[in-house]
Symmetry: C2
Subunit: 384 residues, 2 copies
Amino acid sequence: MPEAILDEISHRRYNPLRGSWILVSPHRTKRPWQGQQEAASQTTLPQYDQSCYLCPGNERAQGDTNPDYTSTFVFVNDFSAVKEEQEDYRQSDDKSSLSSLLLKAESVTGKCYVVTFSPKHNLTLADLEPMEIVPVINTWTQLYTAHISPQSPLAHVAGPTTLPPSSQQASIPRSSAQYRYMQIFENKGAAMGCSNPHPHGQIWTVTGLPEEPAAELEQLIKHRREQGSNLLEDYAKLEIEKEERVVFKNDTFVAVCPWWAVWPFETMIIARQHKRALVDFDEGEKKDLAEVISDVTRRYDNLFETHFPYSMGLHQAPLEGKDAEIEASHFHIHFYPPLLRSATVRKFLVGYELMAEPQRDITPEQAAARLRNCGGTLYRNKVP
Amino acid sequence: MPEAILDEISHRRYNPLRGSWILVSPHRTKRPWQGQQEAASQTTLPQYDQSCYLCPGNERAQGDTNPDYTSTFVFVNDFSAVKEEQEDYRQSDDKSSLSSLLLKAESVTGKCYVVTFSPKHNLTLADLEPMEIVPVINTWTQLYTAHISPQSPLAHVAGPTTLPPSSQQASIPRSSAQYRYMQIFENKGAAMGCSNPHPHGQIWTVTGLPEEPAAELEQLIKHRREQGSNLLEDYAKLEIEKEERVVFKNDTFVAVCPWWAVWPFETMIIARQHKRALVDFDEGEKKDLAEVISDVTRRYDNLFETHFPYSMGLHQAPLEGKDAEIEASHFHIHFYPPLLRSATVRKFLVGYELMAEPQRDITPEQAAARLRNCGGTLYRNKVP
Ligand SMILES: O=P(O)(O)O[C@H]1O[C@H](CO)[C@@H](O)[C@H](O)[C@H]1O
Ligand SMILES: O=P(O)(O)O[C@H]1O[C@H](CO)[C@@H](O)[C@H](O)[C@H]1O
């Protein structure tokens, strides 16, 4: 790259999607590490675990019993972070306006779901074939569809707003409330706060647009206004042209270590054309999405020959919003994985990162090169 | 409080200092935890460790030998994240403006210091008496002073810009470059990426104003413009009046679990009067600062009777900047500690938090009440 010198010097990179900066210190990986080691991942789980609250047929914390599901399974989180019904809150109309300015709050309601990716306790997205990931994408799409505002330009694209057939699912009544945003995500691995290895993700649906998608939406809208084009479409094109940060691509998606990556092996899956949300994809495009998810998660596991921990999340159009917001939205997936040097040595985003600015050691270009080098069969399936 | 209902319902709180929101789910602490456990802290360290690169008289990674220092000791980080000298970088003037918009970078130079808090390997800030913390504050102040721009309104307050006497210090030549910001911070404990228990903090001094202080400065300036008063002075007053989030106070400082706290037992030490930076404190006020740091760190250790991990950082005026920036700055210290339920169970800020918005379980009021209840003698010094 013409910016080869960025391999050698400390610099800041701008994230146009969030409108923020990060510090890159490529020379710093040489320092020795004497700190905390992560526990190596357990690789010998059973297919079925009688004590797992996600396995088919098992009882959950609040007494419900899981059906004998065969693909994905959705239920309302037994310990939801937000609830559908709660007492109302109006900020007390304190005489002093300073108090209402400095102690500001608003009520949040919503609905939290858990989605299992497979009935088998010991599989992960990396273990599934792309065609086995398609049902996960369909389930996400159905849940998203079921919550789209009837006023949204996406409503007619989405088709009937029914939830997945309930023979295999916990019964999920359609909420009467209209929520603003749906965050679909997965925490994988103990290092990322996951308390159950059974392959699953979560969905938190809330009133109020959360901070991260709000920051991105602002930037996406600004780019459309100022450039007359879509930021992530432009960016995907540019990265495919430059090649150096591309990890994998197919007709519909490209996976890159973004120019502005914070986490050591952070990747982003971007729709190459302008797609607002899951409902904009046809069957072929969903297969492409399954393929790129499968590819990225396998490379991750292959990199250090371990169950690679990460937090992953989908960003797409809000469920409800101004047309300009829905139209500027661009479907993408972030993967934030903490490992840096090996299966047991992670990057800590702590003091300087929390107080001042995110900081990374290896460059995104170096990370992408390493991920490009570890495609193919999943290491644990290789015949020795 | 009139907002008692916020103890029961999920809600968002606004952080006027950063201009951002967080999600609070007070009902959620009831969920069982089956995830990762932190290693319990080692409590039986020796006073001197021959293999520690921070102990007096020992050799460091790059071959330098530490003096036989008796109080604090400052040296330039052997693995600095930023360097004083490096090749220059100018963004390549690509024909396509899209590329310079989406792949934007700037060079960063700077200087990173390590500051030990005590020659004794097995002490922490919580073990030190307030009068033993005063030298740490003096060392911070001297380093800050040595880097203030001669054009800053703080320059004449600060006095001579000399570094600490070097008999006890590694030789630290005054940099010729003028840096924009100095971030003083401490990572404590393995859970917060600290790789050496010897009591020490870091100082990263950089060109370019980092993200966090930049966001705060914007809000501080806005408040002065719109309210004609200082945000953190107003806030400190309000909290002292309300009492419910106050952990400790003396004449100069108040320590609170802020209304908008993200980390479970997050606290903030705020100067009660408008003070721009360390150099604005007289000797008595520095003693008060030592007292509040000592108090907070002891309460932390007492809470779960453990060496409480945290990242801590000082926010104050930039070294160089517009007068309006320097004048709006307000000295405060953030403590971000991860533990939630016990010495081994932490809060993970992962999927939803990274993709959507920070989320907390217990309320700041509950956290403050618990911290108020564990003052007094440090648990490990109590005679049984
Ligand atoms: O410099 P240290 O203590 O080795 O490193 C620690 O603090 C730094 C500053 O917050 C982080 O960038 C590192 O990830 C962390 O491990
Ligand atoms: O709901 P879980 O998986 O128990 O919890 C995990 O993910 C949540 C959403 O990111 C976080 O708030 C929790 O701190 C984390 O432990």
